[in-house]
């Protein structure tokens, strides 16, 4: 049997990462994580036989060196992690150090006849890249959509090993960290989403979209510039290649142009409606129903009509 080494940046998705590894036929399952994060019960229940801990600050350059040390000792077949910014950087560095393959943001992973095959979004997200990874071990970060369900045998008590790194660590300093509160809603689970884009001229104007979302018992999502450039909404509200992939019953894109990197995140939405005053905006081609109108004129009319009608959202 070949083992899987799971690198855990946080423990939110540890059960899914363990079951995905088991589904690939890998065992034993080993977790590598910061000492203060570990949850022995969760690990045991989900079949981890060993937890290797460290006490490093969250600086990828340093963590990657420790990871290389762990891999050299345990010789796993795959190093698996969630597709997050730190994890991708740690894996990229470690893979380079060891001369190994690394792929990020995978939407599917399989091992057939000893070969690891993955699917991941490429070319802006408009295409699936189907790739084979040569050599062993290989580094893979996966998107939550790719988690596999698999019944795992629980473990009595995982072995805990602490490892340390004796290297100079003074060239990078984490001076400060401002943590932003996470949204209460998880966009990838929402049934109705109103997406806002740069067609909105001010932050205050988002009220229009919020009102519509409220009437439909939905939530607000956005394009990347709204969260990352303008900071009108938290980072975890942005939809697309570098954000959330939604699976809602209804998505209403308001003032969003529909660039490939946004559209990849809405491909699994059931019904897509676009409100955009530019008839040539690419979002119209990606929609079931298009409304070519100024959002500032149309939204108030729609909201009023919806309010006056006896119609109510089925998602209460």
């Amino acid at each position: 049997m070949s083992s899987a080494l799971i690198y855990a940046e946080d423990w939110e998705h540890i059960p899914e990462l363990l079951s995905t590894s088991a589904a690939l036929g890998l065992s034993p399952l080993i977790i590598f994580s910061h000492r203060d994060l570990i949850d022995i019960k969760v690990a045991a229940k989900n079949g981890a036989s060993e937890i290797i801990t460290h006490r490093l600050e969250p600086i990828p350059t340093y963590i990657s060196r420790l990871l290389v040390q762990v891999i050299s000792e345990r010789q796993p077949r795959i190093i698996l992690g969630e597709a997050k910014k730190n994890v991708r950087e740690i894996f990229g560095r470690a893979a380079q150090r060891m001369g190994k393959a690394c792929v990020n943001n995978c939407n599917n992973i399989d091992i057939a006849e000893g070969i690891v095959r993955i699917i991941r979004p490429i070319l802006g997200g408009g295409y699936n890249g189907i790739q084979e990874l040569i050599g062993s071990p290989v580094f893979v970060t996966i998107r939550p959509e790719a988690f596999k369900k698999y019944p795992v045998k629980s473990v009595e008590e995982p072995l805990i090993t602490e490892i340390d790194l004796k290297l100079k660590r003074d060239s990078i300093k984490l001076v400060d960290k401002k943590t932003t509160k996470r949204s209460e809603v998880d966009l990838s689970l929402a049934k109705v989403i109103v997406g806002v884009g740069r067609g909105f001229r001010n932050k205050e104007d988002l009220k229009l979209a919020e009102e519509l979302a409220e009437l439909l018992n939905g939530v607000i999502g956005c394009s990347r510039p709204i969260s990352s450039d303008l900071k009108w909404l938290p980072e975890d509200r942005h939809i697309g290649l570098s954000g959330k992939w939604i699976r809602s019953r209804l998505y209403i894109a308001v003032g969003i142009s529909g660039q490939i990197q946004h559209v990849v995140g809405i491909k699994n939405a059931e019904t897509v409606i676009a409100i955009n005053n530019d008839p040539d905006a690419p979002i119209h081609k990606e929609s079931d129903y298009s409304i070519i109108a100024d959002l500032y004129e149309f939204l108030p009319v729609l909201i009023k009509k919806l309010r006056e009608s006896k119609l109510r959202s089925i998602y209460g």
Binding site: K84, G92, R93, L123, I134, R249, K267, F298, L311
Partner: protein, 259 residues
């Protein structure tokens, strides 16, 4: 005087790429190339650092059939020169191979203080060449940088992560991967474009960087590429705003979202 290297990839222009509706594979005759958005942000940031601190900006590029005019478009932002490896052996390379070639090119171009990359390339979105180059050259790396300031022999960087913002202080030399939010690249004026047309693009033969064979063989191979096609209805609702709103409500009703 800072020596700044910027990695720019000649990427597939995803906006002009079309696919065959039957096979869903990209149509090769629609292939066009350009430098990716994040890479252009990296060039812009390098030029700003040069303007504030003095220095020289050198572009690095690895690939096959590299068009010097595409490199010059990025140079027009304000880079001084470029080092390019354009070789059939670097065709269909993966990030392991690209990083090996770029690291070697950087050594050849001479002692960088800062190497800048985009956070991800336009076509491959692999999110790793920056960190890989750093590892290859034994340098610290930081990714997803949204603000950068150089102070003496240090950089102070703001880094956007999933749950907030980090402020990091890193000693030079360092490899920095920038996010799209760091700046808006300037549109070069005619004068800058003309100046760039006279700038030097150094094509370096692959032999000259002396990489062993294993550093030139890809570890990730494409088996297939398929467009993700979603059938949408593409119905345009038209009429007065009132009429459109009514139509939309009936759509939502028949869709079962409202009742």
């Amino acid at each position: 005087m800072l020596n700044i290297h910027v990695c720019v990839k000649q990427s597939i222009d995803i906006n002009s790429l079309e696919y065959d509706p039957d096979t869903l594979r990209p149509r090769l005759e629609t292939l066009q190339f350009r430098i990716g958005d994040a890479d252009l942000c990296a060039v812009e940031e390098a030029v700003r650092i040069k303007e504030n601190n003095g220095g020289k900006v050198t572009l690095l590029c690895a690939g096959h059939n590299i068009n010097p005019d595409i490199i010059r478009e990025a140079m027009a932002i304000g880079a001084d020169d470029a080092y390019v490896v354009s070789d059939p052996l670097v065709r269909d390379a993966d990030q392991w191979v690209y990083a090996n070639v770029l690291a070697a090119l950087s050594v050849l171009a001479g002692q960088p203080d800062i190497i800048l990359c985009g956070e991800s390339s336009l076509d491959d979105s692999a999110y790793q060449v920056g960190p890989r180059i750093a590892e290859e050259l034994d340098l610290p790396s930081i990714t997803h940088v949204t603000r950068l300031e150089v102070k003496e022999r240090k950089i102070i960087a703001e880094r956007a992560i999933e749950d907030g913002v980090e402020i990091l202080e890193v000693e030079l030399p360092v490899v920095v991967s920038v996010g799209l939010e760091i700046n808006t690249p300037r549109l070069p004026s005619l004068l800058m474009i003309r100046a760039a047309s006279r700038k030097n693009v150094n094509f370096i033969p692959l032999d000259a960087i002396k990489l062993p064979k294993e550093k030139l063989s890809s570890l990730v191979k494409y088996c297939d590429i398929k467009a993700i096609k979603v059938g949408r209805k593409n119905v345009v609702l038209s009429g007065s705003l009132e009429e459109i709103a009514s139509m939309l409500l009936s759509v939502l009703k028949s869709d079962g979202v409202i009742q």
